[in-house]
């Protein structure tokens, strides 16, 4: 990983802008195809940074195809009691004054400098070389410090024993979990389940791809349209950006 481990708080804010700038000023070699599965035995590489661009103008209020697909893919119950896991939520916003309504999916923003990784006492919370933020459940002690540190409230704690292991993601009681960007699918060259479901609904509101490749559809779109990262003031440099907020 390129990010220095001893990142000082003082340089933290400037680091965010520097990283964003690197993406723009390095139109280097394209090392990766969007739809190519990584060969067996090859590690995830920092030449790739996976990200998403969510177009809220295409996202419909009342449509939760992405959330349902996420639940199905990862074996979540889909219940929304306080003790149920939610990796993805639909959020409806109303702009004050104008009354303009916006609907968008919210999940782990896959920060370049993730606070959940900073606070984890066992190094269970980690960022993979290709920018996907994950929980190594073999190490997680369930302290939930990361849940408190996350400004997006993206993580859930598994309160009950998991009996149905039908999902592709191993899940277990006493550990913290969140959106994995469907890492098992991405490693096979597929896009995340929510992206596929959204396209299946004909909305195509979520664009997924490699932010480090200037020729990828997502990078080209980010180059063309105005987009924002949520709570960009925190300087976390999220992998997820939004259009139309």
């Amino acid at each position: 990983m390129k990010t220095p481990a001893n990142l000082q708080r003082r340089s933290f804010m400037s680091q965010g802008t520097a990283l964003t700038a690197t993406v723009a000023i390095a139109p280097g070699v394209m090392l990766y195809d969007y739809a190519r599965a990584r060969p067996a035995g090859e590690a995830a590489s920092s030449a790739v940074r996976w990200g998403m661009l969510i177009d809220t103008t295409r996202c419909a209020t009342g449509c939760d195809a992405c959330v349902k697909a996420c639940n199905r893919e990862n074996g979540l119950s889909g219940e929304t009691r306080p003790t149920d896991s939610q990796w993805m939520r639909k959020v409806d916003l109303v702009q004050e004054g104008t009354g303009r309504k916006i609907s968008l999916p919210m999940m782990c923003q896959h920060c370049a400098d993730p606070p959940c990784v900073d606070v984890c006492p066992t190094a269970a919370s980690f960022k993979r070389a290709d920018g996907i933020v994950l929980v190594d459940k073999h190490r997680c002690i369930g302290c939930r410090y990361c849940m408190m540190a996350c400004p997006y409230k993206a993580r859930s704690f598994v309160h009950e024993p998991v009996t149905d292991h039908s999902g592709h993601t191993p899940r277990g009681q006493g550990t913290v979990e969140s959106c994995t960007l469907c890492v098992h699918r991405v490693d096979q060259g597929q896009s995340p389940a929510c992206v596929e479901a959204c396209a299946g609904e004909g909305k195509e509101a979520i664009l997924f791809g490699n932010l480090n490749d200037p020729n990828s559809p997502i990078s080209r779109r980010l180059h063309e349209v105005s987009s924002v990262k949520l709570r960009d003031d925190l300087g976390l440099n999220t992998g997820i950006s939004f259009v139309g907020l």
Partner: protein, 139 residues
């Protein structure tokens, strides 16, 4: 601790050696009567696997989770695919089932299956496929 570990391995090795070799003199030592499922050619020599499977699994698991290296030969899913019982399609359930039986015998608690599936990967596809056929025939 090291001596205890060596002793344990020695005893285990003897027991399995005796069981596998079918030495009549060792008939007094009870050995687990395991349902090895499909069985066949394992990813490594069975005796080596008996003593080292946990190290192989942990090594590959860390590489897969943290570095994203996939497709290694020593995955838990591969163990389960071959060794799930043909009776209950699982490596757990009774003292005859492959993982549960042996770990019970040596008094080792396994927590793999609190998160991972104890059923082979193709069973689920088979079952869902079958139920789909049944549903469609009801239409």
């Amino acid at each position: 601790m090291k001596i205890r570990r060596i002793l344990l391995l020695l005893v285990l090795g003897l027991v399995f050696w005796a069981g596998g070799g079918g030495y009549g003199a060792w008939a007094g030592v009870p050995i687990p009567d395991l349902d090895i499922g499909q069985g066949g050619h394992c990813v490594a020599d069975p005796l080596y696997m008996r003593l080292n499977h946990m190290n192989l699994l942990i090594h590959q698991r860390d590489q897969t989770v943290r570095q994203g290296i996939r497709g290694g030969p020593y995955s838990l899913a591969v163990c389960v695919d071959c060794h799930a019982s043909k009776v209950n399609h699982s490596v757990l359930g009774t003292s005859r089932n492959f993982c549960q039986g042996c770990h019970e015998y040596v008094s080792v608690r396994i927590d793999c299956f609190e998160c991972h599936s104890s059923e082979p990967r193709n069973t689920k596809a088979m079952i869902t496929g079958q139920s789909r056929v049944v549903k469609e025939s009801l239409k």
